[in-house]
Symmetry: C2
């Protein structure tokens, strides 16, 4: 069996990437979304093994020291990481895997898995992103906090040219179809389908002998 | 306007590539199939500018000497070629172009257009190809001629690993969808959609100033 593909999806906060990838995984057979490990406690309603794999601080440190993460980061005082053995497990069983991680995490993974396929999701415009971030922040966020988030988004968008693919999330159904096309195309790469070619070629040889 | 993409499709004779690409071009907006130039006379029912662009031997030679072809070849005593200026014309107007040419022609084009995207179409099996070739040859072909055609197909299939993508024409509707996905994915390449990124980024900068 050939090894599954590894897709990395990054997008500025407010682009709707999580909804998008959940829809993609529902539509496309043979692809799973990777679940992050985190050292933070579960919030009410969160389920271990569904939302995250929750581990203690000590367990997380052990995994870091044992090179158990493809990437990990501190976010708001807690640690989040992508388990190397979980990803390798899926892939060796022939499943494609999609990781939803930020620009820094994507860089870490690419440095360790040079066959990773990277996709950047853009908001349709600056204005839409600002509106979404305002809605999401609610009334609590100050104008300054909002500006900081927009500046972070700007810096992330500026790094999108290092990605293999760029898609715009203007309409979720259309954007899911575009992501689906990218998965189908990557599964059609000559390097990936070599087994099929070999089968057909060997039939020629058997008959030609 | 960004330049259109150039797709090259090759397949052994009997794979059904012409039907496949006609269907693709009907389904996908913004992509045209390139028409070959030939020095052979039109057959009954063939229309100049629809089936081929028919030129005289002298005109063909002039185009060869003026480096007017992206690729050209002798086939059964006549010459066939892909006009460089026709392809460049389509692409500069933003249209994607698909060329249906053989393995040798594909090599010539790639050496002159390193941005060409190459797709190889496989028959579903050796047996299906043999059946199709027998049907197409009719009763005129000797067993030896058929074996020669199968050997040519084998040599072509063996070169499919030099292509970017490999698809299997097991069922035409499914295969057209797969080709469509490859076109959509290639249109999503970061290098191709840079204008969108630039637009969104410049909106950030205008507002950030």
């Amino acid at each position: 069996m050939s090894q599954g593909l590894l897709f990395i999806v990054s997008a500025p906060s407010g682009t709707g990437k999580t909804t998008l990838i959940k829809r993609l995984v529902e539509c496309v057979p043979g692809i799973v979304m990777s679940r992050s490990y985190t050292s933070r406690p579960a919030r009410p309603g969160e389920v271990d093994g569904v939302d995250y794999t929750f581990v203690s601080d000590e367990q997380f440190t052990e995994m870091v020291e044992g090179d158990g993460f493809l990437e990990w980061a501190h976010i708001f005082g807690h640690r989040y990481g992508t388990s190397r053995s979980a990803i390798n497990g899926y892939r060796s069983e022939g499943h494609d895997v999609v990781l939803v991680i930020d620009v820094q995490g994507a860089k870490q993974v690419r440095s360790r898995s040079d066959d990773a396929i990277t996709i950047f999701v853009l908001p349709p415009s600056h204005q839409v992103l600002e509106t979404r971030l305002r809605q999401r922040s609610g009334q609590d966020a100050t104008e300054e906090e909002l500006q900081t988030r927009l500046e972070t988004a700007r810096q992330e968008v500026a790094q999108s040219d290092g990605y293999d693919y760029v898609v715009v999330n203007d309409e979720i159904g259309r954007c899911v179809e575009q992501l689906q096309s990218i998965v189908v195309a990557e599964r059609s790469r000559a390097a990936v389908v070599n087994e099929t070619v070999d089968e057909i070629l060997s039939a020629f040889q058997v008959i030609g002998d």
